[in-house]
């Protein structure tokens, strides 16, 4: 396997230009949302609204202003598939359409997807959805086709301010740590890295530098593998079975008792 590759997205230098969204659409030939004329969302400058089968990059705009404007900032963040090291989507896919590539990225092979939608519910980040044209589950491939010929992903190449950085994960993590220290030294006390260590789903191969709590950006604080639930789910199923069994047993016993009492009567 080649070296693990991925994205480091430094939201502190994102200017919300959406070049990543357009570059992604152009390279991957994704359809425009609602033919190019969706209604204006009214949610700041965000008209893409969410990641989906046709929107693999989504720039979020978060306006934070006090009533008197004495405090105010406008956070921007280009969201994308996290390419989790322990990827829930990959785990639940019944057809094996979702694979881990030689770059340690997660790719849906559309020709092997049967459209069962299990991956859509499994993803704790809401990344995946059905592409209305192909009718299969789709998401960011981290430009697998470009990586195979030594090119960087289209969004990273288009990003004018290097908010989206592509490279070997180890190198990106070093960059991110240095940038975090710089920001904290400049007084950005709330700045933090999201998904840069292996605690979150074994690590996110697309990780972030955030300027506020993950929840502010619509990111889960503690995303879970579906199999994490499997153990307790299994335990509770067993427990339920036991309880039912016992209840049944006692039920029968009771009945027997009744029968016996009847007999006594």
């Amino acid at each position: 396997m080649a070296e693990p590759m991925g994205f480091f997205t430094d939201t502190s230098v994102c200017i919300g230009c959406k070049a990543c969204e357009t570059a992604c659409k152009a390279w991957n030939q994704l359809p425009a949302k609602e033919g190019g004329h969706p209604p204006m969302s009214g949610d700041s400058y965000d008209n893409t609204v969410r990641l989906s089968g046709e929107d693999w990059r989504h720039v979020k705009f978060i306006e934070q202003f006090s009533e008197d404007r004495s405090a105010g900032r406008w956070l921007m963040m280009s969201d994308v598939c996290k390419h989790c090291v322990n990827a829930p989507c990959l785990e639940v896919c019944p057809t094996g359409a979702i694979i881990r590539t030689e770059f340690d990225t997660v790719v849906i092979q559309t020709d092997a997807c049967n459209g069962c939608r299990l991956c859509i519910t499994a993803c704790p980040f809401g990344v995946i959805d059905v592409n209305p044209v192909s009718k299969t589950a789709e998401k960011c491939t981290l430009c697998y086709d470009r990586l195979q010929v030594g090119m960087q992903p289209a969004c990273a190449q288009a990003c004018p301010t290097a908010s989206i950085q592509f490279g070997p994960i180890a190198q990106l993590k070093a960059t991110a740590t240095a940038r975090l220290s710089q920001l904290q030294a400049q007084g950005e006390k709330q700045a933090s890295l999201y998904g840069a260590d292996d605690k979150m789903l074994g690590g996110l191969n697309s990780f972030y530098l955030l300027l506020d709590e993950p929840g502010v950006y619509g990111l889960p604080v503690d995303p879970k593998m579906p199999t994490r639930n499997l153990f307790w789910g299994s335990v509770s199923s067993v427990a339920a079975a036991v309880v039912l069994g016992v209840v049944g047993l006692f039920g029968f016993r009771e009945r027997r008792a009744v029968d016996e009492s009847d007999a006594d009567a």
């Binding site: 230098v13 200017i15 919300g16 230009c17 959406k18 070049a19 969204e21 357009t22 659409k25 152009a26 359809p31 425009a32 949302k33 609602e34 033919g35 190019g36 004329h37 969706p38 209604p39 204006m40 969302s41 009214g42 700041s44 400058y45 008209n47 893409t48 306006e63 202003f65 009533e67 404007r69 105010g72 900032r73 406008w74 956070l75 921007m76 004018p160 301010t161 290097a162 710089q182």
Partner: protein, 834 residues
């Protein structure tokens, strides 16, 4: 800058990562503000009050007054010490007017469209001079015919007071002029809180000096005011006081809106300039002969004393062998202007039925300033040619405009014949483009244009070929210019893919220049230009970009090595002379030493000027060379006169000539404002341009029917009139609908909700848009009352994937008197639910 120039903003973000502080001044909290360290919210149109406040703050700063860097730069590199005519009276003396104001009397009866509401007689704005002119001796180089003419222009030396104490010196005049621009006054005029203003002032000051420089960058909306050039001049004045001109990391940086719009002013599509910033010959000036023209426009000292060489070489380029010394190099054939033929008055002329036809390339006037009036103009044309990528609103104004859709005008009543020429896209054309930092870069084509799509070069060249053919047999004197015009740029290899496409390298050679007798001997530098016809050069400032047939320097792509401090001199080619920082002599002190190690750029090495950049100074003139009042050109200037394009070699704090609306920037209210001018009795510029018509009315100051300030702008997601973005579904989906940004305070007052419909009206028109209610906008307190600021992007029209009302139906034809730029950045409106 992040909104409209996201790619250039890359460098701002790189600087930020290295610790640069970013300040953003804007009526709205934008994507640029989101990246800024300090945000100064200002009411649209109040910028000169803000900048003037900074100037006053600097002049009162103790460090500024005592630091030898600031004082040396001020006294030696600016005109601070020059004495001004005793007749000069300031706006402080005349409550908002300069001396010399009078009724407008100029113009030709045939062209009563210049728009001036007043005019200044400007003699009193000039310098004081010592006695009489020195009377040049006939010694020196007198080999050419125009040397004597240039020497005859010489004036006696200007009077100076290096102590800066004389009350008539520029420094004292500037100080008095801005004395009332206190932080409290700034807050009252602009709405920016005093502490925010002071923070900006202190940040700029602490980041200027020997070791540090501050750069000011603006997108061209800054110029779009009835005092637009004065706003830029005010910023330049501040930068000169801070020693931030001619040094790395300094300057006043225009971020221009289109690819190669810099190139289109260098090789101008402007009506009043010819190539290389020479004034267009005019019937309104003493321009009857070539000698008259040069007497009126050339300067005896500084680089413009070479104007005869620039002009004769230009005329040789126009008329080739037909241009000879005996016929004034064909000067008589050259077209002359008869008034203001810029965009605004041309559409008034059209609306009055004075214009027969129009060729419209890559522009969308059907949605431009006071768009209803402009469409009225289009309807009066006999013919209209639109060359564009798509059927823009200008191509369909006759069958799909709002006034057609609502039935008030029938297409059958419009007699215009409209021709549409499909245009090649940018990746399908070849040639040089000039970016905002004067850098020429060669652009290679990636694909052939499909079907009948043609480049602008093809269109212009073929139009010229056909017009020359049309006029070939004419016996009219007025057609001689067309007949004599040199016009042969056919490629040597006829097997080019697009038939009829000219060779862009041949055009570049014409622009660069060559020896008239042997066109394959290209000129290597503007210093080779001659005024005897032996050199041919369309644009002197580009001379050197193509020094030999096999050396197109615009096509170079070699960056400096990593870690090496340099100016990337092997990447493309910057005019003039591949110089990256203009006036860079100012990056060294009086002795020619860099002001500091950190800001080393150009220096005197004992025998010549050297440095990272191409020095902008006579190569071997020592820093201590005295001025020679008996010499011409740059020879007349001292070794410490960095501003060699100026006749006196220094940067102008006070502008004695060249501007028609005042030698110093002064706060005026926009042509429409909700408040009276808090600084002067004079509400607006007394010499602004206004074309009074029933369809171009203005709201009176404080008109309660139009209480809000409105500004218009672009979004990152779309491009200008939308002609290149609204046809792309990907881009359209990112900003699908026209909106008006407003504060929750204003929205609540009118019962307007986010994404609800709003009706916006001005004396010119009324449109609808969806509300985007956001705290990124805020109410201002101006002159004691609450003023709401709203803003609208102006990308929409009735064609394309996404459509919306035309925002420019709201704007007015009102302009600045120097360059006739409009004022769509600050006017007044009303908003209502609906």
């Amino acid at each position: 800058m992040a909104e409209c120039h996201p790619v250039a903003f890359r460098w701002v973000m790189k600087a930020k990562l290295k610790g640069a502080k970013i300040i953003h001044a804007d009526p709205r909290f934008t994507r640029t503000t989101a990246m800024a360290d300090v945000y100064a919210p200002l009411r649209a149109g109040s910028d000169i009050a803000f900048l003037g406040g900074l100037i006053r703050y600097v002049l009162h700063d103790e460090r500024w007054k005592s630091d030898s860097f600031f004082q040396d730069y001020l006294v030696n590199y600016t005109n601070a010490s020059t004495l001004v005519d005793p007749g000069f009276q300031d706006t402080e003396d005349l409550d908002g007017e300069f001396s010399g104001l009078m009724d407008y009397t100029g113009g030709k009866p045939e062209w009563p469209l210049n728009g001036f509401i007043g005019e200044y007689e400007r003699a009193s704005w000039g310098y004081q001079r010592e006695g009489t002119a020195p009377g040049k001796p006939a010694s020196g180089d007198t080999t050419t015919a125009f040397d004597a003419l240039i020497r005859g222009l010489s004036q006696s030396p200007v009077r100076k007071d290096p102590t800066l104490e004389d009350p008539r010196c520029v420094f004292q005049i500037v100080k008095r002029h801005f004395d009332r621009y206190t932080p409290a006054m700034v807050a009252d005029v602009t709405g920016c809180a005093v502490d925010t203003f002071v923070k900006v002032a202190q940040t700029v000051l602490s980041n200027s000096g020997r070791d540090r420089t501050t750069a000011w960058a603006y997108a061209v909306g800054w110029t779009q005011h009835t005092y637009g050039p004065q706003m830029i001049g005010c910023c330049a004045l501040l930068q000169l006081l801070l020693g931030n001109i001619g040094r790395p990391g300094g300057g006043v940086i225009a971020l221009r809106g289109h690819v190669s719009i810099q190139g289109s002013t260098d090789i101008p599509t402007l009506y009043d300039n010819i190539h290389g910033y020479m004034v267009a010959p005019s019937t309104l000036k003493s321009h009857a002969t070539l000698r008259d023209y040069l007497k009126a426009e050339a300067k005896p000292t500084g680089a413009w004393s070479d104007m005869p060489k620039f002009m004769v070489s230009y005329l040789k380029s126009m008329y080739g062998d037909a241009a000879t010394a005996a016929n004034d190099f064909g000067y008589g054939w050259h077209p002359r202007i008869a008034g203001d033929h810029s965009h605004l008055p041309m559409f008034v002329a059209m609306a009055e039925g004075r214009v027969k036809g129009m060729i419209c390339v890559g522009q969308n006037p059907a949605t431009s300033v006071n768009a209803s009036l402009e469409r009225t103009g289009l309807r009066k044309l006999e013919w209209l040619v639109v060359k564009d990528n798509f059927l823009t609103e200008t191509a369909t104004y006759w069958n799909r405009a709002p006034e057609i859709a609502n039935g008030s005008i029938a297409p059958a009543d419009i007699a215009t014949e409209v021709f549409f020429f499909p245009s090649a896209q940018v990746a399908e054309t070849e040639g040089s483009f000039t970016n905002t930092q004067r850098l020429l870069q060669w652009h290679f084509k990636a694909a052939q244009p499909p079907a009948d799509c043609r480049s602008d070069l093809w269109f212009t060249y073929q139009l010229g070929v056909r017009l020359k053919r049309l006029y070939a047999g004419s016996t009219e004197t007025r057609d001689e210019g067309f007949q004599r015009l040199t016009w042969n740029f056919d490629p040597d290899d006829p097997a080019t893919a697009v038939v009829g496409e000219p060779d862009p390298r041949k055009l570049l050679r014409e622009i660069n220049g060559y020896h008239s007798a042997s066109p394959l001997r290209h000129l290597e530098a503007a210093s080779e230009l001659r005024d005897d016809g032996s050199t041919t050069c369309a644009s002197w400032i580009y001379c050197g970009v193509f020094p030999a047939p096999d050396r197109n320097l615009a096509a170079r792509k070699t960056p400096d090595q990593k870690g090496v401090t340099g100016a990337h001199l092997e990447w493309g080619w910057a005019w003039p002379a591949n110089r990256r920082v203009l006036y860079n002599r100012a990056s060294a002190d009086l002795q020619g030493k860099p002001w500091s190690e950190r800001k080393r750029w150009v220096w005197w090495d004992g025998g010549k000027w050297a440095g990272h950049d191409v020095p902008d100074f006579p190569r071997h003139k020592s820093p201590d060379a005295p001025a020679d009042p008996r010499a011409s050109g740059t020879d007349a200037l001292s070794g410490s006169s960095p501003f060699t394009l100026k006749a006196d070699g220094v940067g102008w704090l006070f502008v004695p000539e060249g501007l028609v609306d005042g030698p110093l920037p002064t706060h005026y209210e926009p042509a429409e404002s909700p408040v009276r001018n808090p600084l002067y009795a004079r509400q607006t510029s007394p010499v602004l341009k206004y074309w009074k018509r029933e369809d171009n009315l203005l709201a009176a100051p404080g008109d309660p029917r139009f209480p809000h300030v409105i500004t218009t702008y672009r979004l990152t997601e779309h491009y200008v009139g939308g002609g290149m973005s609204r046809w792309s579904p990907w881009l359209s989906a990112l900003q699908p609908e026209l909106f008006i940004e407003m504060s929750p305070e204003l929205a609540d007052a009118h019962g307007i909700v986010n994404t609800g419909w709003v009706r916006i009206s001005t004396p010119r028109g009324s449109i609808r848009a969806k509300a985007l209610v956001t705290r990124r906008l805020r109410p201002f307190r101006i002159a004691g009352k609450v003023v709401h600021q709203v803003g609208m992007p102006w990308h929409w029209g009735w064609e394309g994937v996404v459509t919306g009302d035309v925002v420019n139906n709201l704007t007015a034809l009102v302009g600045d008197p120097n360059v006739s730029i409009h004022e769509a950045k600050a006017f007044v409106c009303n908003v209502e639910k609906g």
